[in-house]
Symmetry: C2
């Protein structure tokens, strides 16, 4: 088994992997070198056709489900729950070539490597491309993976509309028309494991000069919108003592929140006030209303809980209202799968860092379905969601080798 | 003379004045009781036609100029430079019935009162409606009054475009077509004096419970846009120490500016950060660029100068750029005209407050042309540029009486 895993890793074909990344990036290529491929758009459907054709060439069966996730299954020796791996192929409007795509294409390369090496596994290896992870065209993100784990969600998701008023339901119907012959993947026993290979989208691996990240979990997140009300008045005629300036209130509250966020979370704190709306937003009028968002993340659930409590106290003290936009608890990945990822790094003599993911991923939802983990490769300059998104070729290839190694191990695990 | 001034004041007809305010407010009436009358729009041209017809009824000659200002002149006994009075009839998009209009209609009421009282004056009384004071349709504001004082400005103003791409030049041509028979007011000797009656647009008179404000000047103003640059990065994956958050920088600079503004200006300080633009303005992306505006006002030129110096130092220290959007020095009105206004208040036994205008007015420009001053009536709740803009009827009538009183005095002054 161990020799099969190393053999699979050695059969990873660097050129084939890198070329496939360039080929997929043609679907929705931007002039600046980036990619713009909205989920279930005609361009995305063309990209999916490329994936389906490639999977068939590799001997996989191809299936889909109610949320247009694509499942590419490499046959196995025994009839056991599969090992799943993959990510997504939709991108941000000004996205790069790697976010999501790398995880799907490296998984395809693993299938090709196993084929080339003549390796058969006890369990099927199932590559997945999850629908609409980015959440740019339809909100929320990670629709495909969350609906796979909780199929009841699809009814609500179906009503979601893009900026042209097209519903997810219509987009899913277009997808069915484009792939009329695809079998539906019906609910089956939970998968044996899920591994998602991804670019880090942050600077930690690069700062540590380490090529692989063994991801132990995903930090929890709180998204809030805070609405501060004031009274619009003339900037020239209203004395300072007679003002109710919504912006003055907002920056005061922002400072308080930042202070207790740091105090609670220490070095692991991630606090961002990213979106601001100011009314009437006029040079010579005092702001009547300011709404700003909070993005607070931390790996420790008790810190997140304390943050919620202190935020509620702070806002009540200022008589200000807020709306919770998104909340997700921290995710701890499965120790057994994390160990397989760490073993793969060791077996390949590749330095690795134990890391908590700062970004959301489909694996956040898959962790509720089956034992899951992730593997990261460095992002140059920590940049992602950007045409400048880049990872050294060596790191891309090493990540695929490590993935192949642990997939073979997982695919040969006993029931 | 003094008896003529009191007589004129006593001939002010409260009903006629208040009705004329309601009539003018029909041109561009909003459902919420406010007025929306963009400068030189078809609605504004209809309103101007109403003014022209009324002026002719009152025995005035009507003229216009290159910037479509309207001049309504009541004939005089001698051929001397006129005493001018008036304001503007364009409004903010969600404006009220009084801002600008009150000053024009009260001036008309003074003409009517002089007619009814059979008073003849040595100098002509010339009522003016200045074009585009608000600066909402075409920027900058106070186009008509500033171009009257400095006719060279009209060439630059002509290129200004509204949000539909229509130039001021085209709007002026439409105005000429609408009033083909109006004579042009050619440049003549400077006026003897200018008085503008206006609502305060602030809370000071109301707070002091005083019905009239004798305006000694207009505070100076500095408008800047400050652009803070950061680096867009992922809110979840970027450690706090690795961030360059443009919003964090912006609120830090905002706090510094507010601190030295108060220190320099004391109780007369007016500092407002009213307009904010955040890029990319996304919940989970660190801001890459934040631009905010500064509106700083003070009556003391040396405070304004020190503010400019400290601002430049502050921005240089933070390596941040700024753009000066508008700068105007404080205006000191003419002591002799201020005295006439104060005398009128005294003669009518009306309590008055010596006050500095916090808002800009056409009188800011007229002060460069001839001895000028202003008279204020209270704004309920300090509110203006708002459908809720209101002044007690008694105050509106008292303001017109005081205006009539000092106009008669000024119109009878020797050369």
């Amino acid at each position: 088994m161990s020799s099969d895993a190393l053999k699979a890793a050695s059969y990873i074909d660097a050129s084939r992997l890198l070329e496939s990344i360039e080929t997929l990036a043609c679907f929705g290529a931007r002039d600046d070198g980036g990619v713009d491929r909205p989920a279930l758009s005609p361009i995305d459907i063309d990209a999916r056709r490329f994936l389906v054709n490639r999977a068939v060439e590799l001997g996989c069966t191809v299936r889909t489900d109610a949320c247009a996730n694509l499942f590419f299954r490499r046959p196995s020796v025994e009839d056991l729950p599969p090992v799943m791996t993959g990510s997504h192929v939709d991108t941000q409007p000004t996205g790069g070539k790697l976010d999501g795509c790398y995880g799907v294409l490296a998984a395809f390369e693993c299938v090709a490597a196993l084929n080339d090496a003549g390796i058969r596994t006890r369990r099927p290896l199932e590559v997945v491309a999850w629908t609409n992870e980015e959440g740019t065209r339809f909100q929320p993100g990670a629709m495909g993976s969350s609906a796979f784990v909780d199929p009841a969600l699809i009814e609500r998701y179906g009503q979601a509309k893009d900026s042209d008023g097209i519903s997810l339901d219509s987009a899913l119907a277009a997808h069915r028309e484009a792939f009329p012959s695809l079998e539906t993947r019906v609910a089956e026993t939970a998968a044996h494991a899920f591994i998602e290979l991804h670019i880090e989208q942050g600077p930690l691996l690069e700062l540590a000069n380490v090529p692989l990240g063994v991801v132990k979990g995903i930090q929890g997140v709180r998204w809030y919108a805070v609405r501060c009300r004031g009274v619009a008045a003339h900037a020239g005629t209203t004395p300072m003592h007679a003002r109710h300036d919504a912006m003055t209130l907002a920056v005061c509250i922002r400072a308080e929140i930042a202070a207790f966020a740091y105090q609670l979370g220490g070095n692991d704190t991630r606090i961002t006030f990213g979106r601001w709306s100011v009314l009437p937003n006029s040079i010579n009028t005092i702001a009547s209303e300011v709404t700003f968002t909070i993005d607070f993340r931390h790996p420790n659930p008790s810190v997140l809980h304390s943050f919620d409590t202190q935020l509620a106290n702070c806002l009540a003290r200022h008589a200000v209202t807020s709306e919770a936009l998104f909340i997700h608890p921290p995710v701890d990945f499965a120790p057994a799968v994390i160990q397989r990822v760490a073993d793969a790094c060791d077996a390949l003599d590749a330095p690795s860092l134990s890391i908590t993911s700062g970004a959301f991923h489909d694996a956040m939802y898959l962790a509720k379905h089956c034992p899951s983990a992730m593997l990261f490769v460095p992002s140059r300059g920590g940049i992602s969601h950007n045409p400048l998104e880049a990872t050294d070729d060596d790191h891309l290839v090493l990540g695929a080798r490590a993935l192949a190694h642990c997939l073979v191990h997982l695919c040969n695990e006993a029931p």
